[in-house]
Symmetry: C2
Subunit: 313 residues, 2 copies
């Protein structure tokens, strides 16, 4: 049995874990991170978490087969650099070199959506499937594609950027990417809050608390508020449509939906499936199951562990 050090870097905290090659999380901890955290502080946090984790379960450095690290942002996988990671404020950082110096082991990196997709495909809702699309629907939409157990990254790491499928070609909202009408402007927590503000001004949902805002909308919908139900339906409809475009291209057997918006569960998934069926080819929809993610916050570290194991394998 080999054990791997798994890291999932977030804007407010970084999760770490020791994960074995069977997907078992042997130790789990976290340390505080923040926007513009100095790299030296971050490295020290990782080293300390690794050291404490090994102590807790009685492992030595030589028992660890390598590290896998997931980072939200644009990465250059060929050079091992972070091109830009907005939530920790890093830009053009030679990340693999820094992490390997600090941890004294081989380090593999990928973006957080890919790493979470690998986790869900390996040990979560996509377990046993041959071709998995895993979409994380929160403030934006991230996603990863796992084919025969391997991440499919495309030629420069952009495969599965389904949040930026332009689905509303006229009068679409401006997206962070600079285009208009991207799927994530219509089928994310952000879209849910914006729609809620449009149909229910009296709801008083502040745009500053996007995820909680969306949670509020979903709670209201589940308690029978018709305006909130309409909002959830519309967001679900756009997501189902966007997923049908991806499925007609990829023909996967499982689509996993995770992230904040998926916490509404079947109340959200039902209308997603309905919309999906309208625009997916019959033989494509017959072959696919749309499921909720099951690993929650652990998807990142489980996938990071898997990534490190595949690098070794």
């Amino acid at each position: 049995m080999t054990v791997f050090f798994a890291v999932d870097i977030g804007g407010t905290s970084t999760k770490t874990a020791l994960v074995d090659d069977q997907g078992t999380v042997l130790d789990k901890r976290s340390f505080k991170t923040w926007r513009h955290i100095p790299l030296a502080d971050f490295s020290q946090g990782m080293v300390q978490a690794l050291s404490e984790g090994m102590d807790a379960i009685g492992l030595q450095r030589r028992d660890i087969g390598g590290a896998g690290i997931g980072i939200a942002g644009f990465l250059d996988l060929n050079r091992g650099t972070v091109v830009e990671a907005i939530n920790v404020g890093w830009a053009n950082v030679p990340f693999i070199d820094l992490a390997q110096d600090a941890l004294k082991m081989r380090v593999t990196i990928d973006n957080d959506a890919n790493v979470a997709a690998l986790g869900e495909a390996w040990m979560g809702a996509g377990r046993g499937a041959r071709s998995v699309l895993c979409a994380t629907v929160g403030t934006g939409i991230g996603s990863g594609i796992v084919i025969d157990g391997q991440l499919y990254r495309g030629v420069n790491g952009m495969a599965g950027e389904i949040g930026h499928l332009v689905v509303q070609r006229e009068n679409g909202y401006l997206c962070n990417c600079g285009m208009h009408g991207c799927l994530e402007t219509l089928a994310s927590a952000t879209a849910m809050v914006r729609l809620a503000q449009q149909v229910q001004q009296q709801g008083g949902i502040s745009p500053e608390i996007m995820i909680d805002g969306a949670k509020t909308v979903m709670d209201l919908a589940q308690h029978g508020n018709p305006a909130a139900q309409q909002v959830v339906q519309e967001v679900a409809h756009w997501l189902g449509y966007g997923l049908s475009l991806v499925a007609n291209t990829l023909n996967p057997d499982v689509i996993v939906i995770g992230g904040g918006v998926s916490s509404a569960g079947e109340a959200f998934l039902g209308p997603v499936r309905m919309a999906f069926l309208e625009t997916a080819l019959k033989r494509v929809s017959e072959a696919v199951e749309i499921r909720l993610a099951v690993l929650g916050n652990d998807a990142g570290v489980v996938g990071a562990g898997r990534m490190a194991a595949q690098r070794l394998g």
Copy 2:
């Protein structure tokens, strides 16, 4: 050097070839086919073409490593059956068994768009690329995805069915598949003819001669007819938009466009690229080249030969 028997079944003729493992076409011939051709007649045609081909280049049956056959239609690759092939009128045919009995060698089948994609990716416009989408734009839109030299078929052979991306969600035209607003209702030769009839009633283009009809429109456009240019632009625009949806999912390095409509060359490809850039992510469009197919009618037999070689390899 191993040689393979390659077959590309069409509605009016079936092309056959002997292709070596370097992609060289050593012999090429064809025999007549028609809708509802009896399977016995078809088998005899194949056997005769194989025999004549071997005689022409001095090969024996033992020199042939297997056969690859491309068929337009829905296939069940697990069972080796033709579920439905409209242009030859076959349904529920145990095709691999029949072909193996007739040819006395191992037979591999796939649909014609996949086989042509494999040919273009191997020896044509996608040569050397890591991830190729090859779209054949004629009466409809067929396409195939080749990743690291292998066809990516999806879980039940439907991967790359980009002709059925629903891109016009309101007032879309009815597609053969039963849905409305599919890409192939807007970005095919059929769409070109329909649009030409709308903007230029006096053109007198008969809907019965779809491909020639589109050719007429393209010829008019190249000779400066503004109405025809507008039609070509609109069709190209839809195709570029549809390809951007696929590229934001797959992140390929090459997109190959073949089929009747591509014969307009750069006059068609230019507006396709323009539209593509509007809705593709910047990093996706930076990584991809959109090229015309180069193998023409040979793409099918070259890909069929490759498919047989991969089966053996």
